[in-house]
């Protein structure tokens, strides 16, 4: 029993570590060759977990080899456009100037109902509004609407909105994030002074605090400190 626990933990830790090595992109949008790796890894990790008769290395080595192959393919597809086309495939235009490209649809074995469903998921109900619809290599549909059907943007109205920037998190659960504080060229003294203005004496009482581009501090106290 203990053996199973130890083996499971080793396999879990290794799989998580190796999936991290594969990169962030893989989890969000899997390419076909990445999906294959994920399915195979899950199976390879599960077998030695259940069966203690199988050496742990029989699961770990293939997982490592798969990750190495996947990372190598990623590098190759990064460096070579031609290889990318072979490994990942190329995007396909399925709607061009509001006209469905029948041949492409047939080639991708995508039926009209699926296409309409994907368009509806993108809040497009009328094909005549679509300038281009592109079936991406990840299987997702990108829709580019005709210019007159696009949502209005500040640029269209000739408005220049104020710069918003990215709010920087300074405190999480009473812990000051010093790296972020340094990034905005501020220090603990400033933070304590700023919190002092709101009557907060102890940083540990702050549940969350962030600073926007205009140096405005937003904070929320822990429920126990309120």
């Amino acid at each position: 029993m203990l053996l199973v626990i130890i083996r499971t933990l080793i396999l879990y830790a290794t799989t998580v570590l190796l999936l991290r090595v594969m990169g962030k992109r893989q989890i969000g949008q899997l390419q076909p060759y990445e999906l294959v790796v994920i399915i195979m890894i899950s199976e390879l990790a599960a077998i030695p977990m259940q069966n203690t008769g199988i050496p742990l290395l029989s699961g770990l080595i293939p997982i490592f080899i798969l990750v190495t192959a996947q990372v190598t393919l990623s590098y190759i597809s990064l460096k070579s456009e031609r290889a990318r086309g072979v490994i990942c495939g190329t995007p396909s235009i399925v709607i061009e100037n509001s006209r469905i490209v029948e041949d492409e649809l047939r080639r991708q074995r995508l039926n009209l109902n699926d296409l309409l469903e994907q368009l509806r998921l993108k809040n497009v109900s009328d094909i005549s509004d679509v300038e281009y619809a592109i079936l991406e290599t990840s299987g997702q549909l990108s829709v580019i609407l005709k210019s007159e059907k696009r949502p209005v943007e500040p640029q269209d109205l000739k408005i220049s909105p104020e710069y918003e920037g990215l709010p920087i998190t300074l405190i999480i659960d009473g812990q000051v994030i010093n790296d972020n504080l340094k990034k905005v060229q501020l220090d603990m003294v400033w933070l304590q002074n700023e919190l002092g203005k709101y009557g907060i004496k102890n940083i540990k009482d702050v549940f969350f605090a962030s600073l926007d581009a205009h140096k405005q501090l937003y904070y929320q106290l822990k429920s126990s400190a309120q």
């Binding site: 199988i54 190495t68 990372v71």
Partner: protein
């Protein structure tokens, strides 16, 4: 690129370990097979005292040579060899030549089968 280099180095180490393992498996299995043949020939000569000594040496040799085998090989296969070794020891001690020789022959096949199963060849790949 650093990641790819690290993975390539580890891969090279794994491949190196695989080659070393196959080579060691071949050598260890050869040593064990020779010892089995020695036990068999002494049994055929009805020299039971020497046969007992050789079978004990075979057991020690197995413990020494195959202690790391379960790291790479199916544990069930290792267990089967150990059960067979225990049977050989008992048959030799009780001076039963037919059972001893039969069991030794099975043991030899089981040990020879391991490097054959791990060898890199087309039959094993497919």
């Amino acid at each position: 690129m650093r990641l790819l280099t690290t993975l390539t180095v580890i891969l090279a180490l794994v491949i190196g370990m695989g080659i070393w393992f196959n080579h060691s498996l071949q050598t260890s299995s050869g040593d064990l097979t020779r010892q089995i043949q020695l036990v068999s020939s002494t049994i055929r000569q009805q020299d039971w005292e020497t046969a007992v000594k050789h079978s004990e040496k075979l057991e020690k040799l197995w413990e020494q040579k195959a202690k790391w085998w379960p790291v790479f090989l199916d544990h069930q296969e290792m267990d089967n060899i150990e059960f067979s070794l225990a049977r050989v020891k008992e048959y030799v001690t009780s001076k039963d030549d037919a059972l001893s020789l039969g069991q030794l022959s099975e043991l030899k096949l089981m040990i020879e089968h391991i490097p054959r199963k791990e060898a890199v060849n087309l039959t094993n790949i497919f």
